[in-house]
Every structure is written in C-alpha cells, then in structure tokens.
C-alpha cells in the first residue's frame, strides 16, 4: 500500500477505508498547509521524500500501531507542490472504543513527524525559499526532537 501520494488526500475516502460495522469510533487527524510559519507569510511549499524509506517507515509505524491497539489505520502523506489549505497528511483510525482510536491516531502522527524522511521547502511572500528545519529554535514546530537526539529513532 502506498503511503505517499502526489495526489490530493480525500478525507472521506480515508475515513471509509477504515470503517467497518464492528468499529464504532473513528478518530482522525489532518495536517493542512498553513499560510504562515515561524512568523513568515507562506505562499506554497514543496514536500520531497526519501521515497523507499518513507514507505518502509510508514509501514512500520502502522504495523506497530496495529500490534499495540485493536484498530484499523489509514495513513497518507502528500509529496510534491502544495498550496495553502492543501492536506499534507491524513490519518484515520477506527476502533470499537474511542480511547484506542484517539491514542492510536495520536501515536501515528507523532511517529510520522519523528521518523518518516520527508522534507519541506517553503516559498515565502517575500520571494525567498527555505528548507524547513523543525529542530531550529523559533521554527514554530512542536514536539520535534533535535536532529542529534533523533538519531537511531527507528532502531
């Protein structure tokens, strides 16, 4: 199953892919391109990835999640050029109980941010461009570990 896509992510399709008559609780998360980052006005951005590893890492994250909670999981991350308001990442988790659905959904997005090799180049309103480094102070990123600390994160 491809976790990366260069096509728009459809929230309804993602939800439907995990729905079943057995599971009554669906928790989901969507990361959407914002018009600002670290105080700068963003026009658009470009996601690139180490494709083979990103797929493998997403598969590991999903497998670990399925081993830990009784859930169904769908995960998509978009790559390529994105505009403001486009969905960059979509996660849907279905479970019989909402505790598991919420916990598993939160786990997946945290691990995606921490482990999946994807990079983001932002184009700003002032015409400049920059690779986003969430480990840098003032970057506005939340919960991202420093690049040294993250070494061997997937081991």
């Amino acid at each position: 199953m491809p976790y990366l896509t260069d096509q728009p992510i459809d929230p309804s399709a993602l939800l439907q892919s995990v729905e079943s008559a057995e599971r009554g609780g669906l928790a989901c998360f969507f990361g959407v391109v914002r018009n600002h980052h670290a105080g700068r006005a963003v026009l658009r951005l470009e996601y690139s990835a180490y494709g083979a590893m990103a797929e493998a890492e997403c598969a590991r994250i999903v497998a670990e999640t399925l081993a830990r909670w009784p859930v169904a999981v769908a995960l998509r991350h978009r790559v390529g050029r994105l505009e403001i308001g486009d969905t960059a990442v979509g996660i849907a988790v279905a479970a019989a109980h909402r505790d598991a659905a919420f916990a598993a959904c939160r786990h997946v997005i945290e691990e995606v941010k921490r482990r999946v090799p994807i990079w983001k180049r932002e184009l700003y309103a002032d015409g400049t461009e920059e690779w986003v480094d969430p480990t840098r102070a003032g970057s506005g990123a939340e919960g991202q570990r420093g690049s040294e600390a993250a070494a061997g994160a997937g081991a």
Partner: protein, 88 residues
C-alpha cells in the same frame, strides 16, 4: 572465499534536500574498509567539498531504517544522511 582485513567494501551514500544542495550531489559511491561504522563514513563525507556544512551528528538511515553512528556498513549497503525531518 577468504576475507582479508584490507578488502574494501563499496557502499552508496544518499543525500537529500538541504544536504544534497550543500554537497552539490545526491549520490556518492564510497569504498571503505570492512567493519567501517556509520560515524566513520560521515567523517569521510565531511572531508569532501561542501561536507563541512553537514552537522557532526546528522540523522542516518542504513538500508531504509534509522541507525545510530556506531552501526557498521557492509557490501552494497545504502546509507542515507537525513536533514532534520519536516513531514506531517
């Protein structure tokens, strides 16, 4: 087939995003002694033109999985040096 201490191993080193820009390339082929560690490969890369712009301890992945700098590389391995991740 006898393995000798001076037999070298060829590995592929992948660079991405800002690191690829700093070194001006996305792929290196390196020949290293057996039992070379990821940290030792990083030292070699940092000695190349533009390599001093890489951090001393970047994220690394060996054959599509995150590794620490003490992991050892083997014949045909693919070592990726990863700029700070920004997905999600």
């Amino acid at each position: 087939m006898a393995i000798t201490a001076d037999r070298h191993t060829t590995i592929r080193v992948l660079l991405f995003a800002s690191y690829a820009e700093r070194l001006g390339r996305e792929l290196l082929e390196l020949s290293v002694p057996p039992d070379t560690t990821v940290g030792q490969v990083l030292e070699l890369v940092r000695e190349m033109p533009g390599g001093d712009q890489l951090p001393r301890h970047p994220l690394c992945a060996l054959n599509l999985a995150h590794v620490g700098s003490d992991a050892r590389v083997g014949p045909g391995d693919e070592l990726a040096i990863l700029p700070p991740l920004a997905g999600g």
